[in-house]
């Protein structure tokens, strides 16, 4: 498979936009990805041709919609090399997935149990566990990060013990782009019979993960991070865990029998898919995976690595610029500050040049507190960005700094 950047860019209609008369340069991919025509068209195709509620209807388009929805589940299963399709739960995204699991463990843990959260987590993989811990008393321990933004594995070894029941780590940090040693974290956790939930939201756009080989107990991702629409994601859970956890939301679809005396619940995956699902979203999620696999993740990975290298070298030419989280194992994310200038000012002026970056705490206040900063400017690159765009960033950044000094 060859990597034709021009062909790829022509797949994304939004890249043709102008902002303030300048070419639109989108460097906020960690927040959300842009969508290729084929994904956009799959959604309108659904609503134009076979929109229907699924699983219950006896008519033709209900069957077509049901098949398309379950085919999408099969695509997700195959992409992640999951053994059983019923171990893939469609959710509205990573946050929903994590809350589902946290809710499930609420009555399974007590104040004698401990849970471990990494210091690199996004709030979505911190707050649900704090809320759970307030209800069941489970003690929270933290894996701290070092000056490079990497997890301190020595401390992880120290805090892991027989009382540890759950460990939560992101596959890739949204704020810094660091890829965590999750295979090791999982192996060590399993030695003390602790289960591990990996937040894969920031990983799946950049590389493929074999979930059987990884052996995580839970893995979450959101479609909108990998060229899919918003409002759909997936929770992978090992069958034994998904059978153990109680349902999260009650309603239609997730039941077996309902009487006012007693209701029994559906089998997996439907037990966790109450109500009418985001059918078009699931279908588009599958199309997004097809699109990315069509380009090839080896190609995506190689190209993004070269962009990261180029961008890092260029940014290092900017005086007084500091990059946070300089690790050899990173996705194409660069979080930085310029001494004496607030990140918000940089972001606001880069926007005027047509360049979209993210500024602030990136929903990861613990990381910002660790570095003693109020926020950063985050450049997050994707396989449809170019070196020419990075040159524009460099030039615009120089002008921005000159205006603010």
């Amino acid at each position: 498979m060859s990597f034709d950047i021009n062909k790829i860019r022509s797949d994304f209609p939004i890249l043709k936009r102008k902002i303030n008369g300048s070419s639109f340069i989108y460097f906020d991919n960690a927040a959300t990805s842009q969508k290729p025509n084929i994904v956009i068209d799959s959604i309108s195709d659904y609503y134009k041709n076979y929109n229907s509620n699924i699983h219950r209807g006896v008519h033709t388009i209900s069957q077509e919609a049901t098949d398309a929805y379950e085919n999408a589940r099969a695509k997700v299963q195959k992409h992640f090399n999951v053994l059983n399709s019923h171990e893939i739960i469609f959710t509205s995204g990573t946050t929903h997935s994590i809350n589902l699991v946290a809710n499930g463990f609420q009555d399974l843990l007590c104040d004698k149990d401990e849970i471990i959260i990494s210091g690199l987590e996004h709030h979505s993989n911190i707050v649900p566990w704090q809320m759970m811990s307030e209800k069941n008393g489970a003690k929270i321990k933290i894996i701290p990060i070092n000056e490079n933004g990497e997890l301190d594995m020595k401390i992880y070894d120290n805090i892991l013990n027989s009382r540890t029941k759950l460990v939560f780590v992101n596959h890739v940090s949204n704020a810094l782009g660091i890829i965590n040693p999750i295979k090791t974290i999982i192996e060590k956790a399993h030695k003390v019979n602790a289960a591990v939930l990996i937040d894969g939201a920031q990983a799946c756009a950049h590389f493929k993960t074999d979930l059987q080989e990884l052996n995580a107990d839970f893995y979450t991702t959101s479609a909108h991070k990998l060229c899919g629409p918003t409002g759909i994601g997936m929770l992978y859970g090992k069958e034994k865990w998904l059978k153990k956890l109680p349902p999260y939301q009650g309603g239609g679809e997730m039941i077996s029998d309902v009487t006012f005396e007693k209701t029994t619940y559906a089998e997996l995956p439907h037990k966790f898919e109450a109500g009418t699902p985001n059918v078009s979203g699931a279908i588009a999620f599958g199309v997004a995976l097809d699109y990315l696999n069509g380009i090839g993740f080896e190609n995506i990975c190689e190209y993004e690595s070269s962009l990261l290298k180029y961008a890092t070298e260029k940014l290092k030419l900017v005086p007084n610029l500091k990059i946070y989280g300089e690790s050899k194992n990173k996705t194409s994310v660069i979080s930085f500050n310029i001494e004496g200038i607030h990140a918000y000012d940089i972001g606001a002026l880069l926007d005027k040049f047509g360049i979209a970056v993210r500024t602030g705490q990136h929903c990861a206040q613990p990381i910002m507190d660790h570095f003693g900063i109020s926020g950063t400017v985050r450049v997050s690159l994707s396989f449809y960005n170019t070196k020419k765009e990075i040159d524009s960033l460099y030039n615009s950044l120089k002008q921005t700094i000159s205006m603010l000094s």
Binding site: H342, D345, A348, G360
Partner: protein, 138 residues
């Protein structure tokens, strides 16, 4: 000068800018020359909520006029605060409460009025009005 007169003056000044760079250079200049808040008032309780950079606002009554002072970690935010203070500071509570902020749109800074968490401008305007309500001697 009355609030409406100052607003018209600002709109006239901004109409001379040829492009966004000139406008923002002016905004940055304003930010660097804003009436800064007293150190003792640069405290957490005077922080405007909903702002990505810290933004402090303080008000005190002098005779029947409200004097506002402010500061921010971000220069552009300070610049926008300066434009607000130029209009609303040293005015009576009644005049402040009766005024509008259409001039912000007229000078092409409408994007700063959008309710995102980034700039707290909407919150600052609200706080200016709250102070006026609280310090209204009528």
């Amino acid at each position: 000068m009355k609030i409406k007169e100052i607003q018209d003056e600002i709109v006239e000044e901004f109409s001379h800018f040829e492009d966004w760079k000139e406008k923002y250079e002016y905004l940055i200049e304003l930010g660097n020359s804003i009436e800064l808040i007293d150190k003792q008032n640069k405290i957490d309780s005077n922080l405007i909520k909903g702002c990505q950079s810290k933004l402090w606002l303080y008000a005190e009554l002098q005779n029947d006029k409200i004097i506002y002072t402010a500061d921010s970690e971000a220069i552009i935010t300070k610049g926008i605060a300066a434009i607000l203070l130029r209009v609303f500071s040293n005015q009576t509570a009644k005049d402040i409460l009766n005024s509008d902020i259409k001039y912000i749109e007229a000078i092409g800074l409408k994007e700063h009025l959008s309710p995102t968490r980034a700039n707290g401008l909407v919150s600052m305007i609200r706080q200016i009005k709250y102070y006026a309500l609280a310090l209204n001697t009528n």
